[in-house]
Symmetry: C2
Subunit: 334 residues, 2 copies
């Protein structure tokens, strides 16, 4: 790769003059000098090195997105929102992967810290406190999207997961269901705990008992839904199940059909997320639809507010809505 030094050797100018010309740093050189250096740069196929340039300007204009593996499928829509917010702004978007495991989180944090990055959005990865502290210490602006924390110091743009759990359960109760399962929810995570708390409260408010074994824990995946179908059919009979994600709800549907049940006649299914997938299956799923696009737009807006100062710098709750389709039926005679 051609360096500034190569161009200096080739033209006879000093490294600092070459650097000043190629980085537009000042005007302490003649038009003729500039022309010669630029011609040499072109001749030698010089590509400006961002790393070098960033050291000079201390401005990377890069936003880093940390995304998770694909046990759920709403990330694409959220990224669409983020990209839409960046249009016409001179920012680059780089993505890195991290999961629930410490190793990948440490690696992601290293990548964030080792490069000049103007801001970070973490999408639905519940980052460990220790790694968050490292990002915070480096004073890199950080926003969480589609994930909530009990800790008020952590800025986030997300749905109210307690309310999602409550509304989902409440809707099924209103259809006359009394034995309601909750499937695929990660009870280790804050989101999973909040949804479960909402589910529990709706049952209690309806004068029913909360039955611990009707919560089938999982990782929001399709497989979790298939396993849950088996469980709710053979071990813990219910008339309706809430899938903790569209993937899980589709797994419930596939599992139930495979076991000879008809949805919604034999089993009602309500899904949380409302991505395209929930409309692609038969029957189309009744959903709690989250607005992932808006989450993307608003998390970027919030991040830019922090970076530039003066903007809105408060966590934000994005409204969701219930959409009735064909996977829930009322209980006969209710």
């Amino acid at each position: 790769m051609t360096t500034i030094k190569d161009i200096a050797t080739y033209t006879g100018f000093s490294v600092s003059t070459v650097s000043r010309v190629l980085n537009h740093l000042d005007n302490r050189y003649s038009k003729a000098t500039e022309a010669k250096i630029r011609a040499a740069a072109e001749h030698l196929h010089y590509q400006k090195n961002q790393a070098a340039s960033e050291l000079v300007t201390r401005q990377s204009k890069t936003i880093m997105l940390v995304i998770t593996e694909n046990s759920t499928n709403f990330t694409a829509r959220l990224i669409d929102g983020i990209k839409a917010s960046l249009t016409k702004l001179d920012y680059n978007l780089l993505l890195i992967y991290a999961g629930n495991d410490m190793d990948s989180q440490i690696e992601a944090t290293n990548l964030i810290l080792m490069r000049p990055v103007q801001g970070v959005i973490i999408v639905s990865v519940p980052f460990a406190e220790r790694e968050l502290a490292r990002i915070k210490q480096a004073q890199i602006p950080l926003v969480f999207a589609s994930i909530n924390y009990a800790n008020q110091d952590i800025l986030s743009v997300a749905s109210d997961d307690w309310a999602i759990g409550y509304q989902a359960t409440r809707y099924l109760l209103d259809q006359g269901h009394r034995r309601i399962g909750l499937a695929g929810v990660d009870i280790e995570s804050y989101i999973g705990q909040e949804r479960t708390r909402g589910y529990r409260q709706a049952l209690l408010d309806a004068g029913l008992t909360y039955v611990d074994r009707r919560v089938f824990a999982g990782d929001y995946s399709w497989q979790a839904g298939k396993d849950a179908a088996h469980y709710f059919v053979h071990q813990e009979p219910v008339s309706a199940v809430i899938g903790a994600s569209d993937y899980t709800a589709v797994g419930l549907l596939n599992g139930a059909v495979k076991l000879g049940l008809s949805v919604p006649t034999d089993l009602s299914i309500l899904s949380i997320d409302g991505t395209d997938l929930s409309e692609m299956v038969q029957p189309a799923l009744t959903v709690i639809k989250q607005d992932f696009y808006k989450m993307g737009v608003d998390s970027m807006r919030l991040l830019l507010g922090i970076i530039r100062g003066g903007g809105q710098v408060q966590s934000q709750v994005i409204p969701f809505k219930l959409i009735e389709r064909a996977s829930v039926s009322p209980v006969e005679g209710a």
Copy 2:
């Protein structure tokens, strides 16, 4: 942000000594010096700057992945394969988005060129010649995954798209179908052209005529499938349709059901890709299943071969297979 210079000022050591210690460059300093500098670095919250470090070592150990927007859904599996190949290797993986539009390709190319990157994998984005030339000129190793080029100079790891088109059509012919549609295929792209050529050849080999208007062009999306269903039901009746992607095939299925058709009794559907989605719908789709995981593994292997030298540096064709499920039925009396 704390710099090496700040640490030099704070400790009284020269910038070059501080740099040597923090970058483990040599051993021309005492244990005591090292201890003092490391303590100061910690005290001042120094974070090693990758950009600076890369200028020194000229080795970024970063692989850049260029991925496309989500009109299809197999990218995740391919990335799984790439990540699996990187495990235990000391490489970072960064992702950037680009689509079919020139603007996003120029932006992506700039990002690749401006940073120190050891190699690039472009996943299913048909990059413009001009941008490819810029990457080639900068001598950055480049491999295409899940996309083919007529140009033999461009290294790729992908399926044989002509063979996919041929086999899909051949299978439907073997079931007695004579009026077969092809939906959602991008006829501007090499992949789309190859699949259409294979489709055409299978028809000709069976002694049938190729009918141009039975190819419903599109962008492999769900919407393209829904539109195609409408077209094939109302304008160009066929007994079977090949969906150019799982998204398109599911769109065909949804569209057909909405128009009152039963699949496969009234219309057979064969899907290309074979991602989980093809098993999530009712009926589960008969598919040409591509091995995206292996494409990821092998494209990374090929890239590392180029980077390190001495490895295999040939384009590679990944086998696919046909899986029979429930969306195709034989023609009565055929």
